[in-house]
Each structure stands twice: as structure tokens, then as C-alpha cells.
């Protein structure tokens, strides 16, 4: 019975996503047509395939990744305000990436994503230890611990910058200025691999995770191995957050916004929200990034500003509703 509703939702969002991707691939600062690209025009191919399409794909993957991280954190913490950016998990990942780059180790292959992941995990553990009391996550504690963690990571970054040579510092800054510009196919492959691994893991525990939304004791009484599910869930959400930040830097509010937009239409459990977020996340971020690219082209807006403009009203309304 539930499957039918899910299939309908997936179909609807998939159509929306494809439409948005087609629009995003057609719109841009450069006036070149797909027809000339397909008939072999070198410049058109470079602009459309290598630059625009790769950016659209990376935006889609980042959107999916952040949405999956957001909905997983919200379910695990049973708090609708949980989001990798607000929790400080993105900040932890960016801190790791920026410090490594500022220390001149940014070109060691694979080091930045690994350290970003370590930073994300560190922040997640801190959230878990600080924000939770007696199995519950109080909103005030959650927001305060996120605020404090972000302050801590900023302090670490500022100190690393003070010690770093100017050239390394300038490359380290990109983790702070979330951007999808200059994203390459290599980024897309790294991110795509991490996303597929983490989402597969989450699909394995989706049936257990949705029981966790009713409380940990309740889940245990239904035969769920709560400790294992929490460990796997937090681990997967941290991995994807680390990978997203390693590619694009911090882009806020996507993880908060997407699950809530999905819930406005489908008020169902995690098993439904996960696949729907995988489709709605890319739709939202690709659309936001397209606006950032074309609103005042050829000048670009920071995509994080667009997502924040969309996300903040949501955040405030959720905070006001007190749920």
C-alpha cells in the first residue's frame, strides 16, 4: 500500500528533477546552444559539457548528499532543526580541509576528503555528547552546541591561517566560501562514489531508522538494535557531509530545507523521506545554483546566499512552531 504512494512521489520528483536539470543545462551566462555543441563546435562543447554540465551534476550530487545527511540527522536526533550546517558538522569538515590546506598539505592525494570526513565525525560525536540528554535532543542544546562548535572551528581556522603562508591560505579559504564554480568531473566521481556507498548503507538500515523516530526505547521494544543503527547512521551521515564539504565547501540549509519541503507533501516516515530527499535535494540545489549563475550574469552570486535566503524563513518558522 505504502509502496504505491512512494512510487508516485518518486516519479513526480524525478520528472521535476529532470526538468530542472534540462533548464539548468540550457541556461547560463554564455550564449551557446546544445545544437552547436552536439554538431562538434569545440567552444560550445567546452562551455556546455565540461563547465556547465559538470557543475550541474556536482550541484545535483551535493544537493542529494546534503539532503540525505539532513534527513538522517533529523531522524537520529528526532529534531526537525538538525542539519549538517546548523549542527556544526559541515563546519568540522571545512575546518579539517582548511587546516590541512593552510598547512600546505592540500595536494597530498586523498588527504583533504579524509580529513574533512574526520572533522565531520568529530563534530558529530561532540553534538551527540553535548546536545543529548537522557536519550533526547533538546532544541536549545542542539542549537547552542552547533553555535559553539562553529565558533570553535572558526577559531581553529583563524589560527591555522595566521600560521600559514599566504598562498596556502588563499587556497584554504575556498572551504569557507561554499561554491560550485570550477567543479570538475573528478569531483563528481569522488562525491558520487561516497554518496552511493552511504545511501546504500542507509537503505539497509532505513526500516530500523524509521522506528528510531518514535524513540529509542520504543525502537528497542520492536527488536531494533538501536546502538548499531545509531553508529551506522551517524557514520554514514558524517561521511557524506565530509565528502560534500571537501568538494564544494560549506553550503548551508540544504539539509534542513529539503526534508521539510518533502514533508510538506509527504508526511511519512524515513523509508519514504530518504528516496524522496535523494531526488528533491538535487532539484533544490541545481535550481538555486542556476539562479546564482544567471540572475545577474556574467556576475555570479554565491549559491550559499541563495540557499540561506530560502532556508532561514523555514528555520525561523520551525523554531516558532516549537516542534
Amino acid at each position: 500500500m505504502g509502496e504505491v504512494a512512494l512510487k508516485k512521489g518518486v516519479l513526480l520528483l524525478a520528472i521535476l528533477l529532470v526538468a530542472i536539470i534540462i533548464a539548468a543545462a540550457s541556461l547560463g551566462a554564455a550564449h551557446v546552444s546544445w545544437r552547436s555543441a552536439l554538431s562538434g563546435d569545440e567552444t560550445a562543447r567546452a562551455v556546455l559539457i565540461r563547465i556547465r554540465l559538470s557543475r550541474v551534476i556536482v550541484a545535483a550530487l551535493i544537493g542529494a548528499t546534503l539532503a540525505v545527511a539532513g534527513v538522517t540527522f533529523q531522524t537520529l536526533l528526532r529534531n526537525p532543526l538538525a542539519d549538517p550546517f546548523i549542527l556544526g558538522v559541515s563546519g568540522g569538515a571545512a575546518c579539517g580541509a582548511a587546516v590541512v590546506t593552510a598547512l600546505g598539505l592540500g595536494r597530498v592525494p586523498g588527504l583533504v576528503p579524509v580529513v574533512a570526513f574526520a572533522g565531520a565525525c568529530g563534530a558529530t560525536v561532540a553534538v551527540f555528547l553535548v546536545a543529548r540528554r537522557r536519550g533526547r535532543t533538546d532544541t536549545t542544546r542542539l542549537l547552542l552546541s552547533g553555535l559553539i562548535l562553529n565558533a570553535l572551528f572558526s577559531a581553529i581556522i583563524l589560527i591555522a591561517f595566521a600560521l600559514a603562508p599566504a598562498s596556502d591560505m588563499s587556497s584554504a579559504l575556498r572551504w569557507m566560501m561554499g561554491s560550485l564554480a570550477g567543479a570538475s568531473w573528478n569531483d563528481a566521481i569522488l562525491l558520487g562514489a561516497m554518496f552511493v556507498v552511504a545511501t546504500t548503507i542507509l537503505i539497509f538500515i532505513a526500516n530500523d531508522l524509521r522506528m528510531l523516530a518514535f524513540g529509542e526505547d520504543d525502537a528497542r521494544a520492536h527488536g531494533v538494535n538501536v546502538e548499531r543503527v545509531k553508529l551506522i547512521g551517524f557514520g554514514a551521515a558524517s561521511i557524506v557531509t565530509g565528502a560534500a564539504v571537501a568538494v564544494s565547501g560549506i553550503i548551508g540549509f540544504v539539509g534542513l530545507l529539503v526534508p521539510h519541503l518533502v514533508r510538506l507533501i509527504w508526511r511519512r516516515d524515513y523509508r519514504f523521506l530518504l528516496p524522496l530527499c535523494v531526488l528533491a535535494g538535487p532539484a533544490l540545489l541545481v535550481a538555486s545554483d542556476t539562479v546564482a549563475r544567471i540572475a545577474i550574469a556574467p556576475v555570479e552570486l554565491p549559491v550559499g546566499a541563495i540557499t540561506a535566503l530560502l532556508g532561514v524563513p523555514f528555520f525561523l518558522s520551525l523554531l516558532r512552531s516549537g516542534r
Binding site: 500500500m1 505504502g2 509502496e3 512512494l6 533529523q74 531522524t75 528526532r78 529534531n79 526537525p80 533526547r136 537503505i203 539497509f204 526500516n207 524509521r210 522506528m211 523516530a213 518514535f214 524513540g215 526505547d217 520504543d218 528497542r220 521494544a221 520492536h222 527488536g223 531494533v224 538494535n225 514533508r263 508526511r267 511519512r268 516516515d269 523509508r271 516542534r323
Partner: protein, 267 residues
Amino acid sequence: MLRVENVSYSYNGRRGASDVTLHVDDGGALIALAGPNGSGKSTLLKLIARVLTPQRGEVVLDGRSDWMAKEYARHVGYLPQESEDVFTMKAIDVVVSGRAPYLSRFAFESESDYAEAEKALALCDASYLAQRFLDEMSGGERKRVFLARVLAGAPRLILLDEPFAALDIAHVQQFSRLLRGIVDRTNSTVVFASHDLNWAAAYSDRMIVMREGSIARDASPAEVMRADVVRELFGFEAHVVDRWVVPPPHPPSAPSPPSPGEKGTRT
């Protein structure tokens, strides 16, 4: 059916349950777990529900203590004192999630699972709530939906932690009638914890009274609801009128606040 044998549990040195032994048989009964706050009622229910693992002793169901968690959950249902419902859903979707112990890893609930959920809602006089969302319901309605969720798993033993705690007196009556109906119609055994001695006695066939982590009395309500037993277990002098404990009036020297008993409301 169920044997709790010499079970002990403590929270970082704070005693929860100590050396509890208890037998519950099949065949439908309404059993009250009574006792003052902090006497270990919730801990004992969690130990039976396998939410907590005993530090000493064991919980044996049908002669076995090596149940897989999901298998065990098909036989024993548990309703915590407060159900978390941060993310609102339709009642029917909440209730059908009670079928989780029967579901394989990637499966969604089938038509027959939904049929069970609807039956469970009907047992709780809550069929009319099926398509409503949790955040549109009163506390009493939500309680019934979550009780239906436990019933959807068709357990033989149903554990309810303080089911009356947040209900007004009219809803307590309604809810207790519901419990009696469930026992009669499903032949399952319901164990409910209550700190209110009078309600525990009024709505049960058997009373297990806990005190300081241990079982102080396991008898019929008529045997427990006596002035000498109340004095022994709860430490105050009370009148017992028709199996109803009436607390002594306040001493006349103090300005006496209106007694809740006089107005017919209890907390």
C-alpha cells in the same frame, strides 16, 4: 508464559530493580504494577520488554531466554509512558509501523499489515482517526493510536507504562474499559504500571505492588486494598472505603487547601 527470575538492574549504582521474581501466565488478565514513584515499575517493564538487559537473572518466555530481538517483539508489546512523535504522520501509518517485528529488511507493509492495523484501531475505538494526523489529535486520541500500534503487532503480553498518567478522569474510565475489552477479545495479558493505587486496584485482576525495586506484594486487589497493607507498603494511615483508599484529612491547625478528592478530580 513469562518468568522473570531473580532479575536485577541498576543505573550507574542507582537501584532500578533488585532480585525480582515474577510469573505471568497466558490466558488473558489485566495486571496492575503499582507502587510509589521510583519504586522500579518502569524498570521492570523495560526489563520484560527487553529495552533493558538484566544485569543479573533472566527473563524467560515460553521456557526460552535466547530469543532473537525481533522474534521476541512479536510476543511482547511495550508502550512507553510518553511516545515521541516529533514528525507527524497519519494515524494509520503510525499504527502499521507496529508491524515492524514481522517485516523483512527492505519490505514495506503489505495489504494484510494494513488490515491488522485497521483491526487494531477498531479495538481501540479509534477507526475514525485512521486518516487524521497525530498533531491534529487530543492527548487521549494519541494515546489510543499508540495503543493500537502496540496491538497491531499482535503480542500476547502487552506492557503499558503509566497509561493513565496524562489523562483526565473521564478518559481514564474510557481507556480502562478499552483495556478490559482488549483482554476479553484478544485473550492477551495486559500489564500496566500505575502510581495511583486506586486506579491500579479498580481496573486490575491482580496487583503487583513494588517498593524500592522489589516486589512487596503480589495479590488480588481485594487483598491489597486494606488499611493495614496500605500502612505497611505506603507508610500512611488511610481509610479504605469499598476498596478505595481515602487519604487522611490535613491536620486542622494548618489552613487546609481544597482536597482534590472532594472535587472528584485526581492527579
